[in-house]
Each structure stands twice: as C-alpha cells, then as structure tokens.
C-alpha cells in the first residue's frame, strides 16, 4: 500500500512545527526520516498515525485520505510504534500483542480464536513466542521492541510507522529490529537517529530540518558532506562499506567558526 503525504503542515499549540511536507512511500518500500532533534520527525509521524491532525495537506493511503476514515478503519490499515514513555500497567507480552486486534474487534473486545491465532503468529514472527507470558515491564529494551512490533503486525496493517525504533537498544538489537521491519514487507516510514543504519536499511531518505524537507532520495545521493554540515552541523567523511559498498559515514566536529545556529 502506497503512502502519500502531500503538503502537510502541522501545528501544535499554535506553533507550526512542520511546514508543507510532501513525501511518498511506495508499496513495500522502507523510507527513512532523518534529521536533528526538533526537526519535526516525530510531529510528522504523529500526524501520520493520527495522534495529530494536519493543519494543511493530507495523508493518503492508496489515495484514501487517512484522516477522513473512522479511527478503527485507519488503524486496520496503518500501525505505528510511537515513542512513548512506557506504562505503569504490567501487561504480559501476549496481552500487549492482543491490543493489536483492537481495531478489528467490536464491543467488549472479546478475543476470538482467529484473533489469538493472529497474535500467536505475530509473536512467533518476531521470535518472541517464548516471551508471551512474561510481564512487559520486565523485558529488556530489545525484547520490548520485538513485542511492540508483534503488536503492530497483529493489527494486520499495510503500512507501518516507526518513531525511533532503535532508541536505547544495543547494536545487535538495533540490527535485529530493522531486519524484522524489513522482513515484514510492509510499506514502512521510520524516523531514525543513526544515519549509518538509515543508509544501510532504507530505500530512500528524507532529511528534515526545521520542519521542512532539506533533501530526499536514495541514501547514497542524500548523505553528502555539505548537507550533513548544513543540517546536522557535523563534518562527515563518506566511506564505502567494505562488503556491501553501502555509504557509511564517519563524523567530526565542524570547526568552531562554522557552527550553525
């Protein structure tokens, strides 16, 4: 399913945080959203998974305006892993995954056998079947993220939105999470902090700066030293990955006089 963001601006508490963004994620593609803190990545994503409404523009799935759909209907097509501070309630991993069926259920939300089957398969798919009965709060960061991905998969969506899915994970877990996302074959829009991970895993990157798109295209074309100096305020060296040839970056501070505001 194709995700189109056209001319989207987002305002929070009267301040325009995202300006006129146009972005396309083709079916089955993994699109990365990169940019420094405060560049509007999360705000744009929140608008995509309907936690915010756009002040202007539209988010469309295969041409259907997402914000015109009923909430449950939208959640059956698009799932998200928001960045959230966590919960006080110690649900088991299986219970967390079962929440993914909520948009498919009516009334009191009694889980059918089919629902349980979908959840079990989602957990197995992320290699977390053995965690089902464990308390979510007691899981490691990587385990939690896998369970949350299983919840998103249990929604049986066509599009997946991820906000910094690799935050607070060690490197093996980061690679694991991105591999799982890749493996889902869904259309994915993900905000990522780590430019090298983004360069390797994403089909296309959109670079955000001050709520606007500064550059977009294949990682190789986008991650250029001048752009990185301008947007991130760092000096970057490009080196090819010794095995895959993918672009990788080494960073230094910019000389002090060129520190951007």
């Amino acid at each position: 399913m194709r995700l189109d963001i056209t001319g989207v601006s987002v305002e929070v508490a009267g301040r325009r945080l995202v300006h006129d963004i146009t972005l396309t994620a083709g079916s089955g593609r993994l699109i990365g959203l990169v940019g420094p803190n405060g560049s509007g990545k999360s705000t744009l994503l929140r608008c995509v998974y309907r936690a915010l409404r756009p002040a202007a523009g539209a988010v469309r799935l295969d041409g259907t305006d997402l914000h015109a759909l009923p909430a449950r209907e939208a959640a059956r097509r698009l799932a998200a892993l928001p960045q959230e501070g966590g919960t006080d309630f110690d649900f088991t991993a299986a219970e967390v995954v079962a929440m993914g069926r909520l948009p498919h259920q009516r009334g009191s939300g009694a889980a059918s056998a089919a629902d349980r089957d979908v959840c079990a398969r989602a957990l197995a798919r992320v290699g977390a079947a053995h965690l089902a009965r464990r308390g979510f709060l007691g899981l490691s960061g990587g385990e939690k993220q896998r369970v949350l991905i299983a919840r998103a998969l249990a929604q049986e969506p066509r599009v997946l939105v991820l906000d910094e899915p690799t935050n607070h994970l060690d490197i093996a877990q980061q690679l694991e999470v991105l591999a799982l996302v890749r493996d889902s074959r869904l259309t994915v829009l993900a905000a990522l902090h780590d430019l090298n991970l983004a360069a390797v895993h994403c089909d296309e990157l959109y670079v955000l700066s001050g709520g606007r798109i500064a550059a977009s295209g294949p990682p190789h074309d986008v991650l250029t030293p001048p752009l990185l100096a301008e947007v991130f305020g760092v000096r970057a060296h490009r080196v090819p990955h010794p095995e895959t040839g993918a672009v990788q970056l080494l960073f230094d501070r910019l000389p002090q006089t060129r520190t951007p505001a």
Binding site: F89, D90, E95, G127, L175
Partner: protein, 383 residues
Amino acid sequence: MPPPPGSGPPLLSVRTRPEPKASPPLARTADPALRTGPRTARTLPLAAALTTVLLASLLCGTALGAAGIGWPQVLRHLGAGLTGGTLRPDEAAAYTIVWELRFPRAVLAAVVGAGLSAIGVAVQALVRNALADPFVLGISSGAAVGANAVLLFGALASLGVWALSVSAFASALLAMALVYAAARTAHGLTPMRLVLTGTAMYYGFSAVTTLMVFTADRGEAARSAMMWLLGSLGGAGWGSVPIAALAVAAALVHLRCSAGRLNALAMGDETAAALGVDPGRLRRELFVVAAAATGAVVAVSGAIGFVGLMVPHATRMLVGADHRRVLTVAPLLGAVLLVWVDVLSRVLLAPVELPVGVVTAVLGVPCFVLLMRRRGYTFGGGA
C-alpha cells in the same frame, strides 16, 4: 538484560553481521532470575467462585449483627421477604431487622464495594496513575459538602429522607462540572491536570466541609457528619438501594465494554491513537462515567476510602493487568470485601457502630502491604 550476541532470531540483513546465525529463538530460555509474568489465574472460575462467596457473604451479612437472631429464623424471614409468606406477630421485630435493615444494608454494601472498585480501575487508567482512587477527582469531597449541608443545617428538608442522597449527588455533579471545567485544555483532559485539579478541589471542598462542621452548634450532627465523611452504611434501607445499584450497574457495563480501549489508553495516548482509540474522547467518557457513579455511590454511603485503591491492585495481582479480566473480577472482590467490612463495623464494638472507612483501612492496609511485598507484582516499573 541484553541478549548475548548471536542469540537473537535469525537475521535477514546478514550483510552487516556476517557471523553464522546462532540458535533459533525458541531455544533461548527465559532467565529464571527475571521476574515471572503477572499471575493470570483463570478468570471465569475465579469469577464464579467469587459470585458464590458473594451470595454466601450476603447471607452472613444478614445473619450477623448485634441483635442475636438465629440462622433458621434469618433464612425464614429472608424467604418471606423475597417470596412472600406469613409470620407470627411476635416475629415482626426480627423480620424488620432482617428484611428492612440488615439485608438491604448488605446488598447496598455489595453495590458500593463493586462500584468503588470498578471506578477505581477506571480512574487509574483515566489518569494513568497507580495511586489514583475514585476520590482523586474531587467528586467525593464535593458530595460531602452537600451531605453536610443536610446533616448540619437541615438543607433540603422538604425532601425528607431523600435530602441527604439528593444533596450529596447534586453537589457531586457540581464538583464534577467544576473539576472538568478547570482541568480542560485545548488538548482535552490530560492526566496530570486532572489529578492536580481534582486534588486542589478536594482540599477546597474539604475546607468548606470542615468549616461547616466547626460552625454547626449541634454535637450529634457533627458526629453524623464525621461518620459520613468516614463512610457509613448506617442509613441503608431499601430506599437507597435502587438508584445506587442502577448507577453502578450502568457504569460496570459501560466500563466492561470499554475494557479493550482502556488497555490501549493504559499504554499511552499515542499508542491508543495508533490503535484507533481517540484518547481524548475516551478520557471524557471515563470522567463522566466515573464521576456520576462516584456521586451515586457516595450519596448513599459517604466517602468509604481505600476500597477503590486497594481492590484494583489486589485484582491485578490475581489476574494481571488486562482490563477485560480486571473489570470482571474487581467488582466481585470489592462487593465481598465491603459486605464483610460492614459486618465487622457492626459487630466489633456492638452496639457501637464503627465507621466503615476505619475498618477498610485497619483491614486493608496490612493485607495490601503483604500482597504488594510478594514478588511478581509490578505497577510503576520498578516495584
């Protein structure tokens, strides 16, 4: 605890990690030192057992009391009250005690216990805070103002025996409107604002109540005001049962039907939105339901503390956090608890009657601390 390198599930993007793939994920056993999952006892058998216990408790609540009435007589009077029957004239006093005083009182205790427990669950999800209880929204202290106006100054005297309930409920609704208006922002009701506003209002209303008790010159009235503030089922009769029961039943049905959405809300507003639940709308809904039910319950029983805090937690220890299970078990558990608390409040120092709130605290605090210290219960991440 991060998994050892190479023990994760099969990776697809091996290009960044060329080492051979290790054991499949199922081979990895959970570290036994880690916390085991929350208890997920089978809910339906537990609910059935609790229902049986509740019925037995209602019987005991009717049979036990200051006036010694034997079991056979109690059962006969109950049967007479329920199905009709003839009694000898000399049995009239016992019949009145059983059918007009004790039984409605036990039923009301069950209704109030079930209501406070379910409202506690809802409010904790509403403000996403473990320490919340039905009274954190400031509704009960608002009701107290109305109740005390009747108890101390004889307000609404024209309503007769209904004056207390009506005045308490009306002022609860007024408090609800005040808290709602003060806590509301452009983004809707946020948990922190609700808690802070509710707490501030609580102190405000309490000050008014205290002032009223202070300025009232009738000692006995002040005593009944105090009794009401600590919670009492002393005024129970068949008259006070129907409205409270109806309000509690409606709240229970609504909450139980919202259990899935409550789960989503408990995970956070963003997650709820991504799952197709409008957190703002759900929160408004919960606020109105919780506040109206609190008002109806508090109007007939006063501010019985601790039940709405303790029973939700105890229930989660038994069946885990899933609101579908919690909202099935908590009302039953709360009902049983309050029936027995009321019995104790009547018989411990008979013929003097203890405030119910005192008994819930005396019983509840040690039980709760013991339960909480057992391993396997997490609420707040680090327990």
